[in-house]
């Protein structure tokens, strides 16, 4: 694979993306919402004296944060519990970009001229994957860093340490890029079968269900966040899915299939 060609595709895709304000909004909006809701709750709790009777359902969960005041434990629970939803950003955003990119090319019939150049299909896909994944990874990391720092400033520095735990740093560095990759590849495979970006995103929307499922399950299971073992198992599972999707993708996206079915 020649990096110069991957870079050329990436730069073109990036230019395309920057000119699409709606898509940029789709990148930024979920990231900000997922961070704003728990941060708002932390600020709300911080602004008031916490009545233990008001803790309600989360009372049983704050026992997971021993040796800290109940108010801070409640904030820690909220801060860490919502972090699972950060995994939705790499699941949703790259798929939106990838489907828009591939289907956009199908509609504009611009795949054939690109494949008529010395560009290899793998280089085309690598450039597209990078361009779709990078905004999501960047957005997730920025939100993660901002989330940890802002909550620490609003409430207590110990919240920052809960956010920047070894488990979550590992998850950010491994699970987030893997989920991004899976999302992009799924977007590309789905896009090879449909001609409308919205349909592709609706089909691809199923990819977020397991993540939401895990987030909800851990809440009801009494765990505020993942442990290292769960993150590593998650890495392995997503890596496996990436491998399977790559196999399907290489079949769906070989040069001849693209030209005879997609253009």
């Amino acid at each position: 694979m020649r990096l110069g060609y991957v870079w050329a595709v990436f730069a073109k895709e990036w230019r395309d993306l920057l000119s699409n304000r709606l898509l940029l909004g789709a990148v930024a909006f979920p990231a900000l919402v997922f961070a704003a809701i728990p941060t708002g709750l932390v600020a709300f709790i911080q602004a008031r004296d916490l009545d233990p009777n008001q803790l309600g359902q989360i009372q049983q969960y704050i026992v997971n944060f021993p040796n800290i005041p109940a108010k801070l434990a409640a904030q820690a629970f909220i801060v860490t519990n919502f972090m699972a939803y950060f995994l939705l950003i790499p699941a949703m955003v790259p798929m939106a970009i990838a489907t828009q990119s591939v289907i956009g090319e199908k509609v504009a019939r611009s795949l054939e001229p690109q494949l008529a150049t010395p560009l290899e299909v793998s280089e085309l896909l690598a450039g597209k994957t990078l361009a779709a994944a990078l905004p999501a990874v960047t957005a997730t990391w920025m939100v993660f860093i901002g989330y940890g720092l802002v909550n620490g400033l609003i409430a207590d520095q110990r919240l920052t340490r809960f956010v920047f735990s070894d488990v979550w740093i590992t998850a950010m560095l491994t699970l987030v890029p893997l989920i991004c990759l899976l999302s992009v590849l799924l977007g590309i495979v789905i896009s090879s079968r449909v001609n409308d970006p919205r349909t592709a995103q609706q089909i691809g929307g199923f990819v977020v269900i397991p993540i939401i499922g895990i987030a909800v399950a851990q809440f009801f299971g009494g765990n505020a966040t993942f442990n290292m073992q769960q993150v590593l198992i998650g890495d392995l599972m997503v890596a496996g899915l990436v491998g399977i999707t790559l196999l399907i993708g290489s079949w769906a996206f070989d040069r001849e299939s693209i030209l005879t079915r997609l253009t």
Partner: protein, 313 residues
């Protein structure tokens, strides 16, 4: 130079192209004429290294098809049926992107982009997004894209589609200059007038090549080559019949009112001799016209013949 021998392409149960054999020399424009679905695009895609043939062989500038397709694509320029530009990018950005894909960088890339924007008369629109361009403007940018890297072999699918007559002429003239530079050019078109004006040879195809010849040769297809010589003078045409019948290249002569209808084997080469012979015999010639069908008639006759054969089956 392109050499094609027995090329075939099957898509599952459908045979798109079979038994294709032809050559395109350096500095030659070869036209592929055929109805929709005749296999023109499939043929070009195979030759451009985009899809692999099911059977047969071809070499493009000495590179065998199927083995060095990346190299073939590097010296090949292709104008696809649809311009296929990137709508959100400007004309200049589109060309620069493709230049990079052809391995061009720096000053060489910038100069090529400027030069070809000028060639297709799009310099003043260079920094506008192509999404707002008319069909003709897009076609011009697509033509510039196909030629940007100075390809040795060029495939042009409907090159003047969507262009106004003036722009179409500019493009045709430019294609002619590429021929003069020794490039091998294949033009796929439905435009018979354009094929006749532009192409050195034309292949009429429908799944396979039905006939390959010069435009003039195709016009004579299925007909006796005849020349009508109109005379004006005291001597009637019948007085020349005997003399002309003795000439070795004359296959038959008829006199009709003030006209001689002469059957020849190769009118372009034999007509000057025929005229010289008549003049030396004292004929006063007012016009000489080759009695040929139009290219359209020849095309319809060839394609129709196959259509009828297909229907009979």
């Amino acid at each position: 130079m392109i050499v094609v021998e027995g090329l075939r392409k099957d898509f599952r149960t459908l045979t798109a192209v079979h038994d294709m054999s032809f050559t395109v020399g350096d500095g030659e424009i070869f036209g592929l004429l055929g109805p929709n679905g005749a296999g023109k695009t499939t043929t070009v895609r195979m030759l451009a290294g985009l899809i692999s043939p099911t059977a047969g062989t071809a070499t493009v500038n000495g590179h065998p098809l199927g083995e060095k397709t990346q190299q073939i694509r590097a010296f090949t320029g292709i104008l696809t049926e649809s311009p296929g530009l990137h709508e959100k990018l400007t004309a200049r950005q589109n060309l620069a992107y493709y230049g990079r894909l052809y391995g061009m960088t720096g000053a060489r890339l910038r100069e090529a982009v400027e030069r070809y924007l000028g060639v297709v008369e799009m310099s003043e629109h260079a920094d506008r997004r192509v999404g707002g361009f008319s069909k003709g403007m897009r076609q011009k940018v697509a033509i510039a894209r196909a030629l940007l890297h100075e390809p040795e072999v060029i495939y042009l699918d409907e090159p003047t589609s969507g262009l106004d007559p003036s722009a179409a002429k500019t493009v045709r003239d430019f294609i002619a200059t590429l021929r003069a530079l020794g490039r091998s050019i294949v033009v796929c078109t439905h435009n018979l007038d354009e094929a006749e004006r532009l192409c050195d040879r034309i292949g009429i195809m429908r799944g396979t090549l039905l006939q390959v010849d010069t435009p003039a040769g195709l016009r004579r297809h299925g007909r006796t080559a005849t020349v009508r010589v109109e005379l004006n003078g005291a001597r009637g045409p019948e007085s020349f019949v005997g003399r002309l019948a003795e000439l070795p290249y004359v296959n038959g002569v008829q006199a009709r009112e003030n006209t001689l209808v002469v059957e020849l084997t190769d009118p372009p080469h034999e007509t000057p001799d025929l005229v010289a012979e008549l003049v030396s015999a004292g004929a006063r010639i007012t016009s000489v016209v080759e009695d040929a069908q139009t290219l359209e008639e020849a095309y319809l006759s060839l394609v129709g013949e196959v259509g009828e054969r297909d229907t009979d089956r």
